[in-house]
């Protein structure tokens, strides 16, 4: 039974990781901007949810739309900032958002202090005594929200005209321009959607892991790992990548101890980069799915 329990933990963790990665993958796919401040934006969303729950006694579920709205606005500001960046675009956005991550970390340190915070679960965990399983409300929520996000993003990208235009921009910017797609507007839309997805991940982060101003690097690395693993614009691949990473981390915690967990995403990222040095962007047919 312990393996079933482990599997459930791993799947909920993996669903949460997929949720963390969606915003990054969308923004990176459409605009080629490496957003190293991604984790810090998620933390900002988490802090917003934390204070909404603590001081306004808002039910947790209502913090999701508020955070999505707030982070969408933050993402538009980020897009305006990154528009000013000079070429080489990828490298310079990497360095600029590295600076932005430093700014956000320290601003959060000034505003919220270095204390560890967590939105406590109100409900007790379900106990399926027959199977000796323990499932918390946060775990169910992670799985449900990330499934809903995956399905709606998938439908948006595959079934609507806007999704087609977004996918065309991801595949080839020049060709997309040639057929009359407004690439700049697409990048604005990518930042809007990405911001909403970051806002969705924030409150769940505050519930799954402890909020701490310096904790943003880890979600950033996780988002990058999953994006490289799945390839951009492949929604189901991202969910799968999240699950794989969740299982890998749970296994390493189970076998080695919790101290080694941080190593997993870093080593996976380095391995993926070494094995796919030519790029993360779609070049072959299998990326197009």
């Amino acid at each position: 039974m312990i393996f079933l329990q482990l599997l459930i933990n791993a799947l909920s963790l993996g669903s949460f990781y997929a949720l963390v990665a969606f915003g990054f993958a969308l923004i990176f796919g459409v605009t080629h901007a490496f957003n190293l401040a991604h984790g810090e934006l998620i933390l900002l969303g988490g802090y917003l949810a934390y204070f909404l729950v603590k001081y306004w006694q808002l039910p947790f579920i209502w913090t999701l739309p508020v955070c999505m709205l707030g982070l969408t606005m933050a993402a538009v500001l980020l897009q305006k900032l990154l528009q000013q960046v000079q070429p080489p675009y990828e490298l310079n956005t990497l360095v600029v958002t590295f600076g932005l991550a430093l700014v956000l970390q320290n601003v959060m340190l000034i505003l919220f202090s270095a204390n560890y915070r967590l939105i406590p679960s109100v409900e007790l965990p379900f106990e399926l005594t027959k199977f000796a399983l323990n499932i918390t409300e946060a775990q169910v929520m992670d799985i449900v929200v990330s499934l809903v996000a995956t399905i709606s993003l998938h439908l948006l990208l595959r079934k609507t005209f806007l999704g087609k235009a977004l996918r065309a921009t991801i595949q080839n910017r020049e060709a997309a321009k040639l057929v009359g797609i407004h690439v700049r507007r697409m990048s604005l839309i990518a930042f809007l959607l990405g911001g909403a997805l970051i806002g969705l991940a924030g409150p769940l982060y505050a519930r799954t892991a402890y909020l701490q101003p310096a904790g943003g690097t880890e979600p950033t690395l996780i988002a990058i790992v999953i994006t490289i693993f799945a390839g951009v614009g492949r929604t189901r691949g991202i969910l799968l990548g999240g699950w794989v990473l969740g299982v890998a981390e749970s296994l390493s915690v189970y076998l080695l101890g919790s101290g080694w967990r941080e190593l997993v995403s870093a080593v996976l990222l380095i391995l993926l980069l070494i094995l796919q040095p030519q790029g993360l962007l779609p070049q072959r047919a299998r990326w197009l799915g």
Binding site: L81, F98, L100, A101, V107, L109, L273
Partner: protein, 344 residues
């Protein structure tokens, strides 16, 4: 002004008698500026009087200037590293643990720290030889985590997350009967770090002047063309990284022995990775004096002005600086100054 002078001088000397020496030309004004700056820095500890803070802040500015020079050696080959904290931390732990377990003098152990850093640097250049630009930056960012987690978890050897406490401080030196002690003496530490900065700055300057430095810049500008001209790209880059990692490791060792206490989260931090990058890019990473200029301007500004306003989180200054520098003047302060002088 200067440029105009130089354009006119040849005409001037054409009529001069043979054997007229060029040394008669007046020295440019910038020489006096440099001399004044050097004298000011050398005599600085005696201006502050009994107040140690100015002395200490300037000493740390030299230290980070030295780190920025070491970082810039690699950046001259066109690579932006976001992970120099790995070398720094390995140097600090290598040196601290060597002096803890083996009991040898810190003057020897800092080199052990440097070699550890260089080994990790060589590993980087072997593993990341195909990565460029943003992908290389990501790989370097992730590779800080590996030594950090290992040091954090190897409790029996590295003391884990509790950190290494009570590291031997640098013993005093004897010069002809005169003893120079470094422990708790900010003036001598100031001169030690000034010497470190000068040494690493000289290495940086020699690198830029040398054939190797020209090869490195050729690789930075256009890799394919450089290799067509017979530059061994991987070798040039790898050696620059090894040297850069070695010097960063030595700085880490010096830091461990000066502070006397290191923790994994302190020496493998994002802050240590970011600072040399910010200082170099702000100062101007293509200029000889860029990194030190960045360190001497930004670090005192951060510690003396921003720290008094924001006791915690004052480091957001560095983030703001890097964003504005990259967007508005990507060649840094030194590059900007040079352009201004040329135009006027």
């Amino acid at each position: 002004m200067q440029v105009a002078d130089e354009v006119q001088t040849p005409r001037y000397y054409e009529t001069a008698p043979a054997g007229f020496s060029m040394t008669m030309r007046p020295l440019p004004a910038s020489t006096f500026l440099y001399a004044a700056a050097v004298i000011l820095l050398i005599t600085w500890p005696f201006w502050g009087g009994s107040e140690g803070i100015y002395c200490r802040v300037m000493a740390m500015a030299f230290f980070y200037g030295a780190l920025a020079y070491a970082w810039n050696l690699y950046s001259l080959t066109g690579c932006i590293s976001l992970g120099h904290a790995a070398f720094f931390g390995l140097g600090a732990y290598g040196s601290g643990l060597a002096s803890h377990y083996l009991g040898i003098s810190p003057y020897w152990t800092v080199w052990i720290g440097g070699f550890l850093g260089a080994l990790y640097g060589i590993l980087w250049s072997v593993l990341f030889r195909k990565l460029r630009g943003a992908r290389l930056g990501l790989a370097t960012l992730a590779s800080v985590e590996i030594p950090k987690v290992i040091v954090d978890n190897w409790d029996s050897f590295t003391f884990g997350s509790l950190g290494l406490v009570g590291i031997a401080s640098l013993p005093g030196l004897n010069f002809a009967g005169l003893t120079v002690a470094f422990k708790d003496n900010f003036r001598t530490q100031y001169y030690l770090l000034l010497c470190t900065l000068t040494a690493i700055g000289m290495i940086h300057w020699l690198f830029i002047q040398s054939r190797w430095g020209w090869a490195a810049r050729a690789v930075r500008e256009e890799e394919t063309a450089a290799s067509m001209l017979g530059v061994n790209v991987a070798w040039t880059r790898g050696c620059a990284l090894a040297l850069s990692a070695f010097l960063t490791g030595v700085c880490g060792g010096v830091y461990a022995h000066l502070i006397g206490l290191i923790e994994p989260s302190m020496v493998f931090s994002l802050h240590i990775s970011a600072l040399p990058l910010v200082l170099s890019i702000f100062g101007g990473r293509y200029q000889t004096l860029g990194p030190v200029l960045g360190a001497l301007i930004l670090y005192p500004l951060d510690q003396l002005v921003f720290r008094s306003i924001f006791p915690v989180g004052h480091a957001f200054l560095y983030g703001l600086v890097i964003i504005t520098t990259l967007i508005f003047f990507p060649n840094g302060v030194a590059g900007w100054l040079q352009q201004r002088v040329k135009i006027s």
